[in-house]
């Protein structure tokens, strides 16, 4: 009898022998990650949960205050503002990024588009740039008095747009900047998925007289549904914890109107030393992320089972 890991029947016939035979080697191999997991995941997660019920400030003694932190959060208008702003940012960023990267992936794999391998680099470079540089770059483009964009708007007869001093426009600039920067990554996932769709589907559809749009909506889109969900999930999680682009593009401004959740956690936890309170805010963010993940997994399963 061979010992193939993939052979399910073998596993069920003689599991005790296999398990006893190789214990040390896998244990040694995963030991590094087990230590890291315990130190930098389990430990902080546990003390974070504990601290969220205390008034800990980072140093000295602390008292358990029950659900006080969570109650205070519910009544904190700054927290509400940060949460709604984060959700609004996510709701704008995810579809824009999805549409852009899917469009570009489709154009890139199209046999008729010339120069795709060179053009791909143009879409990819923004993803390499750090969020800080992305912020600086778009701040340079969208400066109110000096930016290239306002220069052109004035050139064609418009008046300067307050990209920095209007809270909504300022959020919009970050959304566009982030979508621009993240296209490369989602695009790679889409390209791989689109290439996996059997060409015979398209040939059959073409014989039946389906045009490019019909082919896209009836073949490509359903075939890449699993990848689409991965892209939406990753982008949502990414957007929910965005901070660096805001930090360098407008620093959550004008004023504090575009402070997002991570910035809120950072400020309450580290600027004003309310570790307990910040931990409670962290757990609210975690709950939101988990709800998002669970909803998307459920939808994903339903689509795949169809």
């Amino acid at each position: 009898m061979t010992k193939r890991a993939s052979d399910a029947s073998d596993v069920s016939v003689s599991p005790p022998r296999r398990r006893s035979k190789y214990t040390l080697a896998p244990l040694v191999l995963i030991s590094g990650n087990v230590v890291l997991f315990a130190l930098f995941f389990v430990w902080p997660a546990v003390i974070g949960l504990v601290y969220s019920f205390t008034n800990y400030t980072g140093v000295g003694a602390f008292q358990f205050v029950g659900l006080d932190n969570y109650q205070k959060l519910l009544g904190d208008s700054t927290f509400y503002a940060a949460t709604t702003r984060t959700l609004l940012y996510t709701v704008l960023f995810v579809p824009l990024n999805f549409a852009l990267s899917l469009l570009i992936a489709n154009v890139l794999v199209s046999k008729n588009a010339k120069g795709a391998s060179v053009a791909r680099i143009f879409f990819f470079i923004p993803w390499l740039l750090s969020p800080i540089i992305v912020g600086v770059l778009w701040r340079w483009l969208f400066g109110e008095n000096f930016g290239l964009v306002n220069y052109f708007i004035e050139k064609v007869g418009g008046s300067a747009v307050p990209w920095q001093s209007n809270a909504d426009l300022s959020l919009l600039v970050v959304v566009v900047a982030a979508a621009w920067a993240w296209t490369g990554f989602s695009m790679l996932l889409f390209i791989a998925a689109i290439k996996n769709v059997p060409t015979s589907y398209y040939e059959a559809a073409a014989l039946d007289g389906a045009g490019p749009w019909r082919q896209f909506f009836s073949i490509t889109l359903p075939s890449i549904a699993p990848t689409s969900f991965i892209v939406i999930l990753l982008n949502t999680i990414h957007a929910m914890k965005e901070y660096a682009v805001f930090a360098s593009l407008n620093n959550g401004g004008p004023g504090t109107s575009n402070n997002l959740l991570v910035q809120y956690i950072y400020q309450t936890g580290f600027k004003s030393g309310q570790i307990g309170y910040a931990s409670a805010a962290s757990f609210v963010l975690m709950l939101i992320l988990m709800v998002v993940a669970i909803i998307q997994m459920m939808v994903n399963r339903r689509v795949e089972n169809r």
Partner: protein, 300 residues
């Protein structure tokens, strides 16, 4: 779904001889079919390329010309004074050394740890290994940003506050890395291990002598990704580092942005300098990144 195995046939570079091969009869038809998608492709490419180009060109202008109207696209007399000033004034060389240390050490360790774990997860089946696999999955749900405060306290209590190790160590645990290696080792036939076992090889030497060399492409891919993650890190180094001498490049640039009056000349120069290493790494290893089956790692 293994996308790595698919032949890549769509790489229609501009120099591809296809156009020449087409005889005159089909050339016009092919050309007409190519016009719309090619135009769309390059309009989009321009939208993505122009901001970077404008940024880099601006960084070559002398400080006095940055805001002079009418705006000119190309610098009239290009200068690297912004770069020089950034490099000298803002301790940039120090930031660069710090960031390089973090990136190199973190990348080597990340690849090592992920390779070991990925191999164990793919080639052994014990109940506790499956349990640990679920644990790794859980880390994707709770990213470091969510646990900022408690993670900070843990790393501080371990004595790593204000040190580069405090940035490196928490970053080594990456689900993506483990998944990439696991996915790769699943495709390596078990017969190879069996044969080595029959020849009397020890488990760990099978891993080190046969499996590690086999996984070189994945190592390189993860190394590039890891280098990029660490190079671009912002919020965690910001929390960990107190001492300006230990700052990383991203914090250095952000501190220039936060200044009361932004010195755009220095900021642009410093920003472009900070972009260079990643762009170079990317251009050198382009084919690994582009062929990277990120799907495989993330789908599991």
């Amino acid at each position: 779904m293994t996308t790595t195995d698919m032949p890549r046939k769509v790489d229609a570079g501009p120099g591809r001889p296809v156009r020449k091969k087409r005889s005159s009869s089909s050339a016009t038809g092919g050309l007409r079919r190519a016009v719309a998608p090619t135009t769309l492709l390059w309009v989009l490419a321009a939208l993505y390329g122009v901001p970077v180009l404008w940024f880099v060109l601006s960084s070559l202008k002398p400080a006095g010309d940055l805001f002079s109207l009418p705006l000119t696209v190309f610098p009239e007399d290009p200068t690297v004074s912004g770069y020089k000033e950034a490099w000298a004034s803002a301790n940039f060389s120090e930031y660069f050394i710090n960031t390089t240390i973090v990136c190199v050490i973190a990348t080597i360790l990340t690849v090592g740890v992920s390779c070991c774990t990925g191999y164990a997860l793919a080639k052994y089946d014990n109940k506790w290994l499956k349990a640990f696999f679920l644990c790794i999955l859980a880390t994707t749900m709770l990213p470091a940003e969510v646990m900022l405060a408690p993670l900070f306290l843990v790393v501080r209590d371990l004595g790593f506050y204000n040190s580069l190790s405090g940035i490196i160590l928490p970053a080594l645990l990456t689900a993506t890395g483990c998944f990439m290696f696991r996915q790769f080792f699943l495709t390596v036939p078990d017969e190879l291990i069996e044969a080595a076992r029959i020849d009397g090889a020890k488990e760990l030497s099978i891993f080190l002598r046969i499996m590690v060399p086999l996984s070189r492409p994945i190592m390189l891919t993860l190394a590039i990704l890891s280098f990029q993650w660490r190079w671009n890190d912002y919020i965690w180094p910001l929390l960990m580092l107190n001492d300006p001498e230990k700052f990383t490049v991203q914090i250095g640039i952000q501190s220039l942005v936060g200044a009361q009056n932004i010195n755009w000349s220095v900021l642009l120069g410093g920003s472009v300098i900070s972009m260079v290493p990643l762009i170079v790494v990317f251009l050198v290893f382009q084919k690994y990144v582009m062929n990277a089956d990120i799907n495989a790692g993330l789908k599991d």
